[in-house]
């Protein structure tokens, strides 16, 4: 933290600068761009989940009216991926999921492109499809990637085999010893969740041109540098030949954390020499959504009568769909989500990323954490029931605190969850059984959750302008979260002693800004903010050096405030930043600064984890959610009566904006917990193709969320901040499930809790899951130890 700055100066409810244009319909998102000179592109997508492709005949389509180019596998044959390069952008000779692109057509009008795509002749030989993870585990299961062993490995260290795309394991301590102790009770449960679709309002869309030998791609993305790299890789050109720019993005939630349509627009732009736009229809957007993955979980715990968790073993199966995608990385997170929250004497975890012939999954707000928190918290309440302990008291005793050891052996700093639980009890009272006058069943839960911000690397440049304003250049993107219009200008302004309105924030342009991991996981305020703070330090140093000469005082005596360089203890005796900058420019040239940041690298216990992209968490973030609800025993309908959040924010720079994230994130979580459901039919396609059937919450489904911002927990972020946008969704599935279990007296094993499923729970007929393909013997669920 910059020692010359009082972090409290940064705290304010700065309004969004982009609100007015958005309210007037003036904001141009990528979907609103694309001029009459552009060609329009569409994809021909597979309509079966698994097939061999015998022939792709373009002869008719190529000569249809308006058609300018058709691209197929040979035009962009490179494979890409996170840990393994297993993903082509076009089908080569095998279709692996319903919706997989086979060809891309560019034509003068969209209608012409659609007609031509229909005229492409594809000769297929359908094959049996592997649609579920249990099918993928069968001894005689077809291999979705028969050549899995030959793929390029991008990140070393994971076990892989057949339909298991990736395995991440954690082993700390001796769980066998713990489970065989005479003083423990063994509690075991299986949990299952379906997929969740982001439904960001702006679909995936890209606009590409080929200019002076380089690609320029304007796109709706959270990850401009990933787009740059993937486009280059699949097209076989150097990364430096691709420029990516990103205007306002109409919602992301993780969906746009991957490269998507950009390579198709790029390859067609090069083939035609024209600019090309491509956008998903809403149906395509839904049918190929890179959803929060469906998952299947088995947890076993050995607990003593007084609530010590001597050992825990768990296996998480994460459905990748047809390609490894984000799940390869997200398997890392199980260690810190399912393996998080609680003090554990010993632990063994395995996260298996499983290939199926279904649309690939991706990243979604608090990826992996949402369902692992559901499973962990339901399991915890089941432990409490078996032990006869109060669930809040159990958590208060067992949550990780200062000096405690996490799953991978990292030592936690600070007591955070326990005081947050104390706040919950103080504010909302102890749990009690209530009878509702209308006969509905009352339930309450208090759940804890741990997310971690994968801070990673970011860079920033600040140019000080002659009018005393500053231009911040980063690869940040405004997807609605507010970082670019609130947190970053607040951080820069505080560090430079100017008003946030005088901080101009340039949105991502990979030709102008430095490398960055992208907007996701709650990292932007932290990592781009920290890089910006480092850039400010350089600017400040230059200003103070010049001012020290002009004011004839030591640099240490100077500080920046309200647009001026002032002498400590002598208010008004300094001069304007503008005047100092003018002198500095005359002496040395224009004042600028650059800064960078990467994760500080918290240590884990060596040898605990395998197949992990990171071994420890640089920035844990915690949440306590308290939910009261009523279950209608006649209909199975669940009404949320109160929803209360205590969130670890480090320092709340903009409390009003954080409120917006909490209300929005909790409501997305309520959708996941209660009503959003995707089912996959025998053709490997989602049954829910649009808003009519995929039901996201409306205004009538929600309530005001109460919240307390817990400040002061340790943070490596600028001014002590932590990311606040990701975590509000983390515990919601857990809180609703635990409260429904409390109301009904029956355990809950599956989400979403739609009325029919709640009726099954009420009747005690909810299938007690006992996945035959996930063994009770933990090591049998691993490649490494099995």
């Amino acid at each position: 933290m910059a020692k010359h700055v009082d972090p409290n100066d940064a705290v304010m409810n700065l309004p969004r600068r982009d609100a007015r244009d958005k309210l007037l319909g003036r904001t141009k998102y990528t979907i609103d761009e694309g001029g009459s000179g552009d060609l329009h592109a569409v994809l021909l997508r597979a309509e079966v989940p698994s097939a061999k492709v015998k022939k792709i005949d373009l002869s008719v389509a190529r000569v249809m009216p308006g058609v300018k180019a058709i691209a197929t596998y040979d035009d962009a044959p490179g494979l890409h991926g996170l840990g393994i390069a297993d993903t082509p952008i076009f089908v080569k000779d095998v279709i692996r999921y319903h919706g997989e692109p086979i060809a891309a057509v560019a034509a003068t009008t969209l209608a012409q492109a659609r007609e031509a795509a229909k005229a492409i002749g594809v000769v297929l030989e359908e094959q049996g499809a592997v649609l579920t993870m249990s099918e993928a585990f069968a001894d005689d299961a077809a291999l979705i990637h028969p050549d899995w062993a030959d793929y390029e490995i991008i990140f070393e260290g994971a076990e892989r085999q057949g339909n298991i795309a990736w395995e991440a394991t954690v082993v700390r301590g001796d769980t066998d010893e713990a489970f065989s102790r005479s003083d423990v009770t063994i509690v075991e449960g299986c949990y299952s969740v379906g997929r969740q679709s982001h439904v960001s309002y702006e679909p995936r869309v890209a606009l590409a041109s080929y200019v002076d030998g380089r690609f320029h791609i304007q796109t709706s993305t959270q990850v401009p540098w990933t787009v740059r790299h993937v486009v280059a890789k699949v097209l076989g050109v150097p990364d430096s030949h691709v420029r990516v720019t990103v205007p306002a993005v109409g919602g992301g939630f993780g969906l746009k954390f991957d490269c998507s349509l950009e390579p198709y627009a790029a390859v067609l732009a090069r083939m035609t020499g024209r600019s090309v736009s491509i956008a998903n229809t809403r149906q395509e957007e839904q049918m190929t959504c890179l959803c929060r993955e469906n998952a299947e979980i088995r947890i076993r715990s050995a607990v003593t009568a007084d609530g010590e968790i001597a050992g825990r073993e768990a296996t998480v199966l994460m459905d990748a769909g047809a390609y490894g995608g984000e799940q390869v990385f997200l398997s890392t997170m199980t260690a810190h989500t399912l393996g998080g929250n609680y003090k554990l004497g010993s632990i063994k975890l395995s996260s298996l990323v499983v290939y199926t012939n279904t649309p690939p999954n991706g990243a979604f707000r608090a990826c992996n954490g949402v369902y692992n928190t559901f499973a962990l918290e339901q399991h915890t309440d089941e432990i409490c029931k078996v032990l006869g302990m109060d669930p809040v008291e159990f958590r208060r005793k067992t949550v990780l605190g200062k000096g405690d050891i996490g799953a991978t052996g990292q030592i936690f700093e600070g007591d955070v969850l326990k005081p947050m639980l104390d706040t919950a009890t103080k504010n909302y009272g102890a749990h009690e059984n209530k009878a509702l006058p209308d006969g509905r069943l009352y339930g309450r839960s208090t759940t804890v959750g741990t997310w971690f911000i994968y801070v990673g690397s970011s860079s920033a440049t600040i140019n000080l302008n002659s009018d005393g304003s500053a231009t911040l250049v980063t690869s940040g993107v405004e997807i609605g979260q507010g970082t670019m219009v609130q947190a970053l200008p607040q951080i820069v302004a505080t560090n430079l002693g100017i008003h946030p309105d005088d901080v101009i924030v340039k949105t991502a342009d990979t030709d102008a800004s430095g490398r960055d991991l992208g907007v996701g996981g709650g990292r932007t305020t932290v990592s781009v903010g920290a890089a910006s703070e480092a850039a400010c330090a350089e600017v400040r140093k230059k200003l103070v050096a010049t001012a020290s000469q002009l004011l004839q005082t030591k640099p240490d005596n100077l500080f920046l405030s309200k647009g001026r360089v002032e002498i400590k203890g002598k208010p008004g005796s300094g001069m304007t930043i503008q005047a100092v900058a003018a002198q500095a420019e005359a002496d040395f040239g224009p004042v600028s600064g650059s800064g960078s940041f990467t994760n500080p690298g918290i240590l884990a216990k060596p040898g605990c984890s395998a197949g992990h992209f990171i071994d420890a968490i640089d920035m844990p973030v915690h949440a306590v959610h308290d939910c009261e609800l009523a279950v209608d025993p006649e209909t199975g309908h669940v009404e949320i009566l109160s929803y209360r959040v205590i969130q670890d924010v480090g320092r709340a720079l903009n409390p009003r904006a954080i409120h917006g994230q909490i209300q929005g994130g909790v409501v997305q979580g309520l959708g996941y917990a209660l009503q959003e459901e995707i089912t996959i039919n025998k053709n490997g396609a989602f049954d829910q193709q649009g808003f009519e059937t995929y039901r996201i919450p409306t205004a009538l489904d929600v309530l005001p969320v109460e919240f307390v911002l817990h400040e002061g927990a340790p943070s490596c972020g600028p001014l002590g901040v932590k990311g606040a946008g990701e975590i509000p969704i983390l515990n919601v599935g857990a809180a609703v499930a635990c409260a429904v279990a409390n109301a009904t007296g029956q355990p809950v094993h599956q989400l979403p809790l739609t009325p029919p499923r709640v009726l099954q729970v009420l009747e005690g007929k909810d299938e007690i899951l006992n996945f035959p393909h996930i063994s009770h013997v933990w090591k049998d669920n691993t490649i490494r130890f099995g």
Partner: protein, 155 residues
């Protein structure tokens, strides 16, 4: 065939396919991109416009049936210098996030407050059920709209 439309007080002639939706014509032909194309099924409300004063999901309306009609889109509501009271309340309460649903929200509530100057919270939420938002969780938008009633700005 030419279809004459009055959009935001200005005369437009449309010469294309009369089966095209009003939304397509606004966005593609006239480049009025404030109305958003999201669900194209009439559920989300992001494309809502006023046709002769009535709220209509423009994605569901073939342009061919609109000969001579007066259409108001988000581009015809408020200005950079002066927002209308709905827009102003939403800006003042800092409730916008990604922003894609807000043109439709503004159109719905600009109309709603004309006939419901003193709504309850439940009234506002019921009126909002045709405008789906994925970012905000609604309640802060409701708070902002109820502040208009308290200030008595829209009558």
């Amino acid at each position: 065939m030419t279809i004459r439309l009055k959009i935001n007080g200005e005369n437009f002639d449309y010469h294309g396919d009369s089966r095209a939706s009003l939304l397509e014509v606004l966005r593609e032909t006239f480049r009025l991109t404030g109305s958003k194309s999201v669900c194209c099924e009439g559920f989300c409300g992001a494309c809502i416009v006023h046709i002769n004063g009535e709220l209509v999901a423009s994605c569901l309306k073939p342009v061919g049936v609109l000969e001579g009609m007066e259409i108001t889109t988000i581009e015809g509501v408020g200005s950079i210098e002066k927002l209308n009271p709905i827009q102003q309340a939403l800006e003042d309460h800092d409730v916008v996030q990604c922003g894609m649903c807000f043109p439709g929200m503004v159109m719905t509530f600009t109309s709603f407050f004309k006939s419901n100057p003193n709504p309850t919270r439940d009234d506002v939420k019921a009126a909002m059920s045709g405008n789906i938002c994925r970012c905000t969780g609604y309640e802060r938008i409701v708070d902002a709209l109820l502040s208009i009633q308290m200030k008595g700005e829209v009558t």
